[in-house]
């Protein structure tokens, strides 16, 4: 029983991490329909920016996270402005954009290795506390991971529903063509979601830096999981991305309760496979297509 409880809490923590990754990626994907592969290395770079600022430069953590978010947002906007948009303007299909994004992925990941070195990096001297409730253990960083979802997701939800730019994002997610017709500047909205989505990834990036450290190749799994979580949850739904993230976290954790851990990498994909086959609109994607 205590194993079950521990796995449950692990699932929540892992799910919180995935949920934020999915929210950032999903925002970009649902609004622009661009499979932004380079989201992965941008997340990595965010982690390294947090490392440089919090580590060698000794900035306080919130400031480091802010710096990471700003760099990520800039990179996101750049990738849209100088790569994806020109391709779309030349009538390149989404698949072409995807491969171009892959090119960017390769470039950014290797640049990260060149600039920051190939080993892992951790924030020297940072030590989160260990806590336990009964048989269940967790760390301070784990708490932050959960809290970050609890703060960011409602804020984003309110922004999307209430604020003008947020409403524009939702309109474009719903129907880009229609949004253009009613006078929404879809290019501006796209830049906004690239900035927002990438900036959001800086939060899990900073927290994972504190938890496990950063390394140049951490981006691939991150963007992959984010993509999967978005589809599992339902494209175009904030609730769905969050649910998808938590679902993956839970599956990865509780799914291995009785199944050997050598299947860890594939178990979420088995679930994904079933979800898409049985409920192609995703867990929460009922309303939109």
């Amino acid at each position: 029983m205590s194993l079950f409880l521990q796995l449950f809490v692990n699932g929540l923590i892992g799910g919180a991490h995935y949920a934020l990754l999915a929210v950032g990626f999903g925002l970009i994907f649902a609004t622009t329909r661009i499979v932004h592969f380079a989201y992965g290395p941008i997340y990595t770079i965010a982690a390294y920016v947090a490392w440089v600022t919090a580590g060698p430069l000794h900035w306080p953590l919130p400031l480091a996270m802010l710096a990471a978010a700003m760099v990520a947002a800039l990179l996101g906007v750049f990738s849209y402005q100088f790569l994806y948009r020109p391709i779309e303007e030349r009538q390149g299909s989404t698949l072409v954009v995807l491969i171009a994004s892959l090119g960017l992925f390769i470039v950014l990941e290797n640049l990260t290795g060149i600039v920051f070195g190939t080993g892992g990096q951790t924030v020297a001297g940072f030590e989160g506390g260990i806590h336990f409730i009964g048989p269940v253990f967790f760390t301070t960083v784990n708490v932050w991971q959960i809290v970050s979802v609890l703060i960011l997701v409602p804020v984003l939800a309110v922004f999307l529903r209430r604020a003008r730019p947020g409403k524009a994002i939702l309109a474009m997610t719903d129907n880009a063509e229609m949004a253009r017709i009613v006078g929404i500047d879809t290019v501006k909205v796209s830049m906004l979601v690239f900035a927002l989505g990438s900036a959001i990834s800086a939060v899990p990036a900073t927290l994972i830096l504190l938890r496990d450290g950063a390394n140049p190749s951490m981006g691939f799994l991150a963007v992959f999981i984010a993509f999967v979580a978005v589809v599992v949850g339902g494209i175009g739904s904030l609730r769905g991305a969050v649910a998808g993230g938590f679902a993956l976290g839970m599956i990865e954790s509780l799914g291995l309760w009785q199944i050997p851990t050598e299947w860890q990498n594939s178990i979420s994909f088995v679930v994904l496979f079933l979800v898409v086959l049985l409920r192609p609109q995703g867990l929460f994607g009922a309303a939109r297509r």
Binding site: L83, P86, L102, I106, V107, N110, L111, V228, S266, P280
Partner: protein
């Protein structure tokens, strides 16, 4: 220079992979990202049969092809239900799962160690164990793979594939069996990838899971996209470039520690640059699919003479009895009965949401009715798949046309012609002369269909370059080409200016005169009055009244309903 020869061997293997992948994504429009898994199955099947069972060529190759083709067919099954992003995700998932099974099934696959000691191929007792000796085999296989892919892609079957890529429902509505096509193209694509895998196993004599990861699929995908989807030469070019480029970059000398990462940066920048400035890929797809040259010398039968075999008028053809269909509690069609007669034009009118298009969908098998029966000349046809119903003689057009946009006007019609032996894969490969002979006749027939709708002058243009009126005409031509005796038109006249109307109305009348059963959904009451012999008024999913246009239009109750 073994090194150069080795690179050429790799170009050959990847050209097989890229062309086979192009069949799936470029021609069939099926974005199934599990090509590296097929590659892996080919390699592992060969390695296992060769190492564990000691089998010699060609048994492992044959088994690898058949096994992987069978797996391909299994993957085709989800592709029947889902498409687009979802197919991408499902097949990505399959790829990851397949790799996990390979890595975890120690007894069979050697687990993470892989399998080493695969016997090299032999030719006249000579082991093909160096790049120099292996290259001829690889080149031969690449050429054979290319020819097979080429034949498939440029046959009537390939044309049907492209039609499916452009619009699945459109292809179904001209009688194409999507299930059959998907299964065949997956089987071929997987089988060809297995050839590359089998060669890999014999060439490297070692097979490990690291060579077949998701990154590998993406690498092959990049070749297809870079070369240009829907162009097989493009795939060969893409394969050559992406294999040679990293090796060419090796000649740039850089400090050791950052050398290979810097080369990858250059590689990524080049990939981005090409796609940024040439998103359609280096070689764009040939739009007219090779039939362009065949157009000019044909004598075109003017005015459709001989095009429409006369059918006896006044006979009951298509009828639906007590049809009902609900969507999540909303009854779109409830208790609808309709009977159509040959040689007559029946109009289907009613307010928006009355269930007119749903009625068409039920009559043509695009939707299965919850209740009721559809019969054609007394034979029940409900339960048949849509493409079978087209074959039986009932075809429909779509309100949103669903043309095959990136195919030529001629091809749009050509693909709709019934009973093409070139649609059967066996005939394509084993009776090429018959297929070619038939194709010549079909082109002539398609041209006369185009002439009938006055589009013969545009035969070589792509459908997406047509004007709106021409698009409407093309959709009629396409419907006509199916040879069906019952033709259901979903708003064929909406949005047209009066001049075009005067062009299309005679065509529809001509069809009825030849004994075709014509049914149209229309909002323009003037058109209805001028064209229809009989009108059915539909509202809330049932027929409220049937009669001559004059009678229905003077009914005040219907008028209020119609204009509510």
């Amino acid at each position: 220079m073994d090194y150069v020869l080795h690179i050429l061997v790799m170009v050959c293997l990847y050209s097989i992979l890229a062309t086979s992948f192009n069949l799936l994504i470029g021609f069939a429009g099926l974005f199934a990202l599990s090509q590296a898994a097929f590659y892996a199955f080919g390699a592992y099947a060969t390695a296992i049969l060769s190492v564990k069972l000691g089998l010699a060529f060609p048994l492992p190759l044959t088994a690898a092809i058949l096994f992987t083709a069978a797996v391909g067919i299994l993957v085709a099954l989800p592709a029947i239900r889902i498409s687009g992003d979802y197919l991408v995700i499902v097949t990505l998932a399959l790829q990851v799962i397949a790799l996990a099974v390979i890595v975890n099934w120690h007894g069979l696959t050697g687990g993470p160690d892989g399998i080493r000691g695969v016997a090299p191929l032999h030719f006249l007792g000579l082991p093909l164990d160096t790049p120099r000796r292996f290259l001829p085999v690889a080149a031969l296989a690449a050429a054979a793979g290319f020819l097979i892919a080429w034949r498939l892609a440029h046959s009537p079957f390939g044309r049907a594939l492209r039609a499916m890529r452009e619009n699945e429902a459109g292809a179904e509505a001209v009688g194409k069996n999507l299930l059959y096509m998907k299964v065949v193209v997956f089987a071929f694509s997987a089988g060809l990838a297995a050839v590359a895998g089998s060669l890999y196993a014999h060439y490297f004599t070692y097979v490990g899971a690291d060579g077949f990861t998701i990154e590998q699929t993406i690498y092959i995908l990049a070749m297809v996209i870079l070369g240009g989807t829907g162009n097989l030469w493009g795939s060969v070019a893409g394969a050559a470039i992406l294999v040679v480029l990293p090796d060419a970059l090796q000649f740039i000398h850089l400090p050791v520690e950052i050398a290979d990462k810097s080369r990858l940066v250059i590689y990524g920048v080049l990939l981005m640059a090409v796609l940024r400035f040439r998103p359609q890929g280096l070689l764009a797809a040939a739009a007219a699919g090779g039939t362009r040259g065949a157009l000019t010398p044909l004598a075109v039968t003017q005015g459709g003479a001989g095009l429409l075999d006369p059918i006896a008028p006044g006979e009951a053809t298509l009828s639906g009895a007590k049809l009902a269909r609900a969507f999540g509690g909303i009854r779109a069609v409830a208790d609808l009965s309709i009977a159509l007669t040959s040689g007559r034009i029946t109009g289907l009118i009613g307010p928006n949401g009355a269930g007119k298009t749903t009625a068409f969908n039920l009559l043509t098998g695009f939707l299965a009715p919850d209740e009721g029966e559809v019969t054609l000349r007394g034979r029940p046809i409900n339960g048949l798949k849509a493409h079978r119903i087209v074959g039986a003689g009932v075809a429909r057009s779509f309100q949103d046309l669903r043309l095959f946009a990136r195919m030529s006007v001629l091809e749009n019609v050509l693909v709709a012609l019934p009973r093409q032996s070139g649609d059967r894969i066996g005939q394509v490969f084993f009776r090429p002369f018959r297929v070619a002979r038939e194709e010549r006749a079909n082109i002539a027939r398609a041209m006369s269909v185009l002439a009938f709708v006055h589009l013969d002058g545009k035969a070589g243009e792509t459908a997406d370059s047509l004007s709106y009126a021409e698009e409407k005409l093309l959709s009629i031509a396409r419907l006509l080409a199916t040879g069906a005796e019952v033709l259901l038109f979903d708003e064929p006249l909406s949005g047209l200016d009066p001049t075009t109307l005067t062009e299309i109305l005679p065509i529809l009348r001509e069809l009825a005169r030849s004994g075709r059963t014509v049914c149209i959904i229309e909002h323009n009451l003037d058109v209805i009055k001028e064209l229809c012999d009989e009108v059915c008024f539909l509202d809330e999913g049932r027929i409220l009244a049937i009669g001559t246009p004059e009678r229905l239009m003077t009914d005040p109750e219907l008028a209020t309903r119609y204009f509510k």
